[in-house]
Structures are given as C-alpha cells and as structure tokens.
Symmetry: C2
Subunit: 248 residues, 2 copies
C-alpha cells in the first residue's frame, strides 16, 4: 500500500529533456510526436520535447532519465538541469489541452516543469519510441517550428546554455567522434552558434587554444584530399575555466 | 469563486530565496527563524531561507518576489533562478516535519522547490519580519550551520553561481557602494571566494582588467591615510563575456 502511494505520479511537476545531437552536418534536437491513443479522430501532429510528470518517489534527475528512456529508448545520458519553467499559462494552448484531457488524470492541474539538457553523438544511440510517443525524430534544430506547451522557450534556454559552454567546456567531445577533422569541428561550431564563423580565423585560433591534438591519421574514403584528424585535449578546457580565477 | 480557485496555493511547488549581502567586512546571507505560532510549547530555532509555496495564478519569478517581500519586507530585488531541488527526502527531518504539520494544509505533500538568488547592498534595504518569520537576520555566510529542509544544498548552489559570476559579471556593483576603495573590493572578493587572495597581485591585476575607474575622491573620516575611491566600468565586464566568443 505504501509502495503504491510512493509511486504515485505528481500532478504538478514534470520534467522535459532537450537532447542535442550532431550528425556531422546539422545540429539536431530530439522531438516526440505524441499519440492521442484512443482518440483516433483527433489530428495532432504537434511535436514536443520528451517529457512527463515525475513520480513522488524519485529525484528530479532520476525522473528525467526515466522519462527520456521511457519515451525514446535513449538511456545512460548525462542530463544537466536547465531550470524550472512555470508560466501559469504554459499548458493553455488548444491542442495541448486536448492532449492533456486525453491522457492525464488531472488535466487541469497547474504543472511546472524542470528542463534538462544533454549532448549526444547521434550514431551511438538507437531510438525506440514507446509510451505516448508515436514517433521520435532527430529534428534539424534550425527549422524547429511551434512546439507544444512552452517547449520552444525551454529549447531556447538550452541553446543559450550550449552556446555559453562551447568555449568553456569540451562540448565537442560528446557530439563528435573521438577523431575528427578541423572541417568537421568547424561545421559543429558554425551550427551551434548559428553564424558564419570565419573559416581561416577559426582554424588558426582553434589550433592556438591548445584544445586540439594532432594525430597521425587522416580521413578515409573521401573523394577529396583526406584531411588530418584531431582529438580534444580535455585538460586545456579545464585550464580555460580556471583562468577566470587567476587571482590565486 | 474562480478567483479563489486561481489564488490557491500549490501544495507541490515552492520557491526559496538566497539573498546575499555585504556589510563591508563579511558576506551575509538572509535567513528566517520560523514561527510555530500557536504551538508555543515547541522549541524551534531552526533557520531557513525565506521561502514558501507558490500560488497557482503566479509565475515562479513572481512567487519568489512575493514570498521574499512577505517574509522579510525586502522588495524590488532582481531574483535570478538557481534551479530546482527535488530530493524526495528534502522535507523529512524531524523539526521540519513538526513545522510543516503546524502550518501546511497538506504537510505530507511532496514539494519540489525552485531556488532563486540575489545580491543586495545591505544598507539599501530595511528588514521587516512578517508571516511565519519570527526573526529575519543577516547571518555571516561563513558560519552558517545546519539549516532547515535542504536549504544548505540550495545555499551551496547559490555560492557556486556567485563565485562563477565574480570574474565575468559586475557582481560587485550590487554589493558595494557606488564608490569604493580597492581594499573594500579586496575584502569582498576574499569573502566570496573564501580564500586568502594575494593582496598585491589582486591590486595589480584588478587595475589591469579595465573593470575599475579611478575617481578624484578619497575615503573620509578614516583614522589612517584615506584611500582613493574607484567605480566600476560596466562595459568592460561585457567585453569579458564576449571574449569567449572571439571567433566572430
């Protein structure tokens, strides 16, 4: 009995996950097309971030992992909190109301959500839609349109954090293969910053940072002159973070 | 009737505020000694952060401002979100349970809390305890002991954010008078970083950053040789933030 009580879903708190991936060309975000299950007559092609209500016996971080795996099959991802989103009108759009009334026990409850984000290398994870996820897609970040609920706002917060981290933390580690060309790295930075970064400056400055280590290997199977491959030097990113505290 | 419904308190979501102040010597944090009201026979001298449940018609930011003003009298402070805290056991300590049972309609409800923080110049704000706040105190940050609930954890998160901001944003603006001596600034940085920063290095490096502008004024009414006063150059902090994005 107690166990049952402890496993209850909390009607007022949810988690939503922004999962960024990189396929070598485009920055992608993982989106879910929700299923209206029994209500086959209602058309709802709204895309949302993978998210759901928390259970009363689990921590927020646990809830985020469980919900992500439950909807998309993706597991063992390091999820980092973005913050809480609690606009009182965040669930008031028409299509969202229809969906909530179809699936939630208390569709009128005020829900605040805690946003999480993670970066993953698309090639390392297999997607398996489950639960209310009819489809799960890697959607090109640049052409995301109106999502359900306040999920555009959560996505905006996540991209701001990602851009901020880009020059302070070894973000690329998680989005790129272990060995990559400078062009590959350039595409990633270009995509995330959504700006035309000057190619020659990028190359010169990136090499000067000490973040990169040259390998003896070159690209294989490319129709042009194969480019040299690099790896990240994690230690140098740690030094960058510390440089701000140079008064010690 | 609807208005009443809209003003209901949400049993599952609260806000808690970490307000840092500086009195010229020590870093302070604003704490509340909670009142058990009718239960005069119970001794409870536990200190907590100013916080309470949100109302269903208000945004999280609004809730944080309302709760802070309602308990401490402090108003018009820019509160920034730290994140959400949701350990399922965060309300399980004995003294906390007693207090919750005395004051909450649903003392057993799972509550997740959203932490906020702000920096203020102590001299500019007047404290007026109200609501369940028996006393409100500016407590020396360094000697904070065990707080109620998970408030030590929230305080730890806030100090980490503050330390991170110290060299990137004009944090001192809010904690110091408009004109201040280098010694005064040194004390502030020393207090926040909780480390013995080398005094001569600090002086030299701080002047080199461009963050500070010399004024023609000097300290008044001091028993020693009066020190020169400085002001902050806000623009230079903005440049520091941008330096990380130098590929443009």
């Amino acid at each position: 009995m107690k166990e049952k009580f402890l496993n209850q879903t909390n009607p007022n708190v949810s988690v939503d996950c922004v999962i960024f991936g990189f396929d070598g060309v485009e920055l992608k975000v993982l989106l879910v097309q929700r299923d209206l299950q029994d209500n086959l007559e209602i058309q709802d092609d709204t895309l949302v971030l993978p998210g759901d209500l928390i259970r009363d016996n689990e921590d927020l971080d646990e809830a985020a992992s469980r919900v992500l795996t439950g909807l998309t099959g993706i597991r063992s991802v390091f999820l980092e909190q973005i913050g809480a989103f609690g606009n009182p009108n965040r669930l008031s759009k028409g299509k969202d109301r229809t969906w909530l009334e179809a699936v939630r026990l208390k569709p009128d409850a005020r829900v605040i959500t805690v946003g999480y984000f993670a970066l993953i290398n698309i090639k390392n994870y297999k997607i398996k839609p489950a639960g209310f996820a009819k489809h799960v897609v890697w959607h090109d970040y640049k052409v995301v349109e109106e999502l359900g609920f306040d999920h555009n706002e959560i996505l905006d917060a996540a991209i701001r954090i990602l851009r901020n981290k880009l020059y302070r933390e070894p973000v690329g580690f998680k989005l790129l293969p272990r060995k990559f060309s400078l062009h590959h790295l350039y595409c990633l930075y270009n995509e995330i910053m959504d700006a035309e970064i000057d190619r020659r400056n990028f190359r010169r400055r990136m090499l000067k940072t000490g973040f990169l280590k040259e390998t003896d290997e070159f690209q294989e199977g490319v129709p042009h002159k194969p480019a040299r491959l690099y790896t990240f030097v994690k230690k140098e990113f740690e030094n960058v973070s510390r440089k701000n505290f140079k008064f010690y």
